[in-house]
């Protein structure tokens, strides 16, 4: 009796299936509980990985609910790579469609914030420019200027929810209660720990345009009249988020 890895994997992810035939206890009897050891290892290790990746989503839904939800998620989306630091990338779309969470529409946005923080944490290192270098650009060259944004910079925008306030209220003891309203956040990594900042919709448009390699002039056009350019650039410089001027 040959046990294929296809059959082994199916059995691991579907607890309703019997253990594949050909797996044995020491006395030669068909293995049952012994196969469950592997089932349990897979489910627990993937569920643990999701717990450590999404602490705020977990806090919002509660430990017990999160574990049950993780059990469904890990069977629908097992990892596609051995890099567990990237596991959970489908959680926002999963939360949008999962029956028990689909009416908690802020959850996918919070999951996107947590994914962005983890990406920032593992992003490549980069040496920031000196603020003086930006000040030294001649006014007539400013609109054509391109800025390379650090790989650790992430922008997340919600269409409907105060994602910064919700994130802060669930990670800082002294944070105020969230008020309704859409928010965007900038995630940067001045040293090793990602930082999170509430930014305006105009800031978010401007920074996204700069990340795409657009000139400052184009980025300003996309941001519209509400942008306070001095404040935006000040924030980027203070977070060591600009690494090259072209």
């Amino acid at each position: 009796m040959i046990v294929t890895q296809t059959a082994f994997r199916k059995g691991l992810l579907d607890p309703a299936l019997p253990a594949p035939e050909g797996l044995q206890n020491p006395d030669g009897a068909q293995a049952t509980k012994r196969f469950d050891v592997y089932r349990n290892n897979v489910a627990v290790s993937l569920s643990d990985a999701l717990e450590s990746a999404f602490p705020v989503v977990r806090k919002l839904v509660g430990d017990e609910f999160f574990r049950a939800m993780a059990g469904v998620y890990l069977r629908k989306f097992p990892p596609s790579s051995p890099l567990m630091m990237h596991y959970g990338e489908h959680l926002p779309q999963f939360l949008t469609r999962f029956e028990p969470t689909k009416n908690h529409r802020y959850l996918p946005d919070i999951a996107r914030v947590e994914l962005a923080i983890r990406k920032s944490y593992h992003a490549a290192d980069a040496e920031p420019i000196d603020g003086q270098a930006l000040a030294a650009v001649a006014p007539e060259d400013l609109m054509a200027l391109q800025m390379t944004i650090a790989p650790a910079v992430q922008v997340v925008s919600s269409k409907d929810y105060p994602i910064h306030a919700i994130y802060m209220a669930n990670t800082r003891e002294d944070a105020p209660k969230p008020e309704p309203g859409a928010e965007s956040v900038l995630i940067a990594r001045p040293h090793f720990d990602p930082t999170i900042h509430k930014i305006s919709t105009a800031d978010a448009s401007c920074i996204k345009a700069l990340q795409e390699g657009k000139s400052l002039g184009l980025a300003l056009a996309e941001a519209g009249d509400d942008l306070d350019l001095g404040a935006t650039l000040g924030l980027l410089l203070s977070q060591r988020a600009i690494i090259e001027l072209n």
Binding site: M1, I2, V3, T4, Q5, T6, F8, R9, L12, G22, L23, Q24, N25, P26, D27, A29, A31, T32, K33, R34, F35, V37, Y38, N41, V42, S45, L46, A49, P78, P79, S80, S81, P82, L83, M84, M85, Y121, H122, A123, A124, D125, A126, P151, A152, R189, F192, D193
Partner: protein
């Protein structure tokens, strides 16, 4: 501090599986600690703290890179992207040792994050040997292959695990990583003798020994079922099996693994001290 030339190989001293929460303790008070092991996959990000800490640690300690995601026992081809990441890590870090598991974890592009078992027969010898040849070719160095913890047996197996490993060593030239806790766990679970396993093991090929804790359970018939959890102190019978092994193998680089419910450094340091004492008992 340690002599930089010793970084070409792991010393015959105790090491620990590195956890970031112990970073400052390890640098501040290493005691008899002679080297560190890291899980390769945790250092395959592009940058940030993990890479910076590893770079710094590698200037102070010999490093062993221990892969957990290559799926050497997999039916399918090795993941070329993952091999390239491994080559990159080994390239910049230049570790003292590189090891992986006799197990599979990926099938049809799905990674299952566990070390899954395979049957032992001539067909799987060829598959594993071909994969090890490919790994050693790509990363450009010899690897060590670790014996697994077994919870069950395959009806289709025709060889013992020790014979299987000897055959792999002879075909690929790889070395072996002998996990003494895994030997104890497998022997208990499969109702065989752990000492007989050690007696039959290719000890000349061993480049590193692992020790870790396990959990105790029972199968549906009431037979003991030990689970390799790496979440506890090493138990006395495993320390005794280590002594039995070291008497036959001589001193080896000896690792304490503690991966879940990771304790404060002093608890792990006590295990390191015990490992150090076990090595000191053996003729140099």
């Amino acid at each position: 501090m340690l002599d930089a030339t010793s970084f070409n190989a792991l010393p015959n001293k105790p090491g620990v599986g590195h956890k970031p929460q112990h970073y400052k303790d390890i640098l501040g008070n290493p005691g008899p600690l002679g080297w560190l092991e890291i899980h390769a996959e945790n250092y395959m990000g592009d940058g940030g703290r993990p890479i910076a800490q590893l770079r710094h640690l590698s200037e102070q300690f010999p490093i062993s890179v221990h892969g957990v995601g290559l799926s050497i026992g997999g039916e399918g081809d090795l993941d070329k992207d993952h091999l390239a990441r491994l080559k990159h890590l080994i390239g910049w870090l230049n570790p003292a040792s590189f090891s992986e598991h006799l197990a599979w974890s990926t099938h049809d592009s799905h990674f299952l994050n566990d070390l899954l078992p395979l049957p032992y027969n001539m067909k799987t010898v060829k598959r594993v040997a071909d994969h090890i040849d490919e790994v050693q070719e790509v990363v450009g160095r010899k690897m060590l292959l670790e014996n697994p913890s077994s919870y069950l047996a395959f009806a289709e197996s025709t060889m013992s695990e020790t014979d299987f490993l000897k055959e792999i060593v002879s075909r690929t030239g790889c070395g072996l990583l002998l996990d003494v806790n895994n030997v104890f766990v497998s022997a208990t679970n499969l109702n065989t003798s752990p000492q007989a396993y050690i007696d039959d093991f290719a000890l000349d090929a061993v480049g590193e020994i692992h020790l870790g804790g396990h959990d105790e359970d029972e199968d549906e018939t009431g037979a003991p079922l030990l689970i390799d959890s790496h979440g506890k102190a090493v138990v006395d019978p495993v320390w005794a099996l280590l002594d039995y092994t070291l008497e036959r193998s001589g001193r080896k680089p000896l690792l304490i693994e503690w991966d879940t419910d990771v304790p404060e450094w002093p608890v792990l340091a006590a295990e390191v001290a015990r490992a150090h004492a076990a090595l000191e008992l053996v003729a140099a």
